[in-house]
């Protein structure tokens, strides 16, 4: 990696729809993808709710932005770290999250999952590796 590349982490700790932070975080990620930095997303605390399957916003009249997460692979955003303890505290498991895949160009374009379930301690280590941390 060139020394011009910084490690950017987008930290998502809030639930979707009640506030706009989750949606506007995703907008930054999409724009940021054009800058060829080393990008990761972290989902912890209520941020894990952003990734639940089956979101249907028809009844509240807001745009359902959850499908956009599945497009992140096309933008080379492939590291979505989700904290296991945050899921468990909320009665969720990995099966409750939508499937988000990317094609690995270093492995003959094999389809691989973008979501990586990590422990709280691993999440803390991920934080400590970053150059720039953006909180939403």
């Amino acid at each position: 990696m060139s020394e011009d590349v910084k490690k950017f982490l987008y930290v998502n700790r809030k639930a979707p729809y009640g506030t706009i932070y989750a949606l506007e975080s995703l907008e930054v990620v999409l724009i940021g993808a054009a800058f060829d930095q080393d990008v990761s997303l972290a989902f912890l605390d209520d941020g894990v709710f952003q990734l639940t399957r089956g979101q249907d916003t028809t009844g509240i009249g807001m745009k359902n932005f959850s499908p956009t997460f599945r497009a992140l692979g096309d933008y080379d955003v492939t590291k979505l770290y989700v904290e296991r303890e945050s899921l468990e505290e909320r009665g969720l498991s990995a099966d409750d999250l939508q499937e988000i895949m990317y094609e690995d160009e270093d492995d003959d374009w094999a389809e691989k999952p973008s979501i990586r379930i990590v422990s709280r301690a691993e999440m803390a280590d991920i934080f400590a590796e970053q150059d720039v941390v953006l909180s939403f």
């Binding site: 729809y17 009640g18 506030t19 706009i20 509240i60 009249g61 807001m62 745009k63």
Partner: protein
């Protein structure tokens, strides 16, 4: 029954103004009256006509303007809260020496007394905020 409604947060950022809107629509459909909606705190930002939401999103200001016109709802933006946050009508802009105003159709700027009056004159008061 008469409902008074307070919106305490700005559009898009918080769901409050959306929930309030759906509540008012349903209240009217059920035959209740909603004589006034009072916009306080960041809720005053609902009343700007300068917002340009993405085309695939709802236009919160336009929804309120339209609903108010159809059902004669008095949409009141608190003057004290609006001044701090930069929501002005033509009178206020002139009075404050500002070269522009941004209030949307169907909204009017008035004092906090309108909130108290709403509390007195309605049967139930609902607050939507953060």
């Amino acid at each position: 029954m008469k409902f008074g409604v307070v919106v305490s947060e700005g559009p898009y950022t918080h769901q409050a103004s959306d929930t309030a809107y759906h509540f008012v629509v349903s209240a009217l459909e059920a035959g209740h009256e909603v004589p006034r909606v009072f916009f306080y705190h960041d809720g005053v930002n609902v009343g700007t006509r300068l917002s340009v939401p993405p085309q695939d999103e709802r236009n919160i200001q336009a929804q309120w303007t339209d609903l108010a016109a159809r059902h004669k709802i008095d949409l009141v933006v608190c003057i004290a809260a609006a001044q701090r946050r930069g929501i002005l009508d033509e009178n206020e802009a002139t009075r404050q020496g500002k070269d522009a105003n941004n209030i949307a159709e169907g909204f009017r700027i008035s004092g906090l007394g309108q909130l108290i009056e709403m509390g007195i004159q309605t049967d139930r008061l609902l607050m939507f905020g953060d």
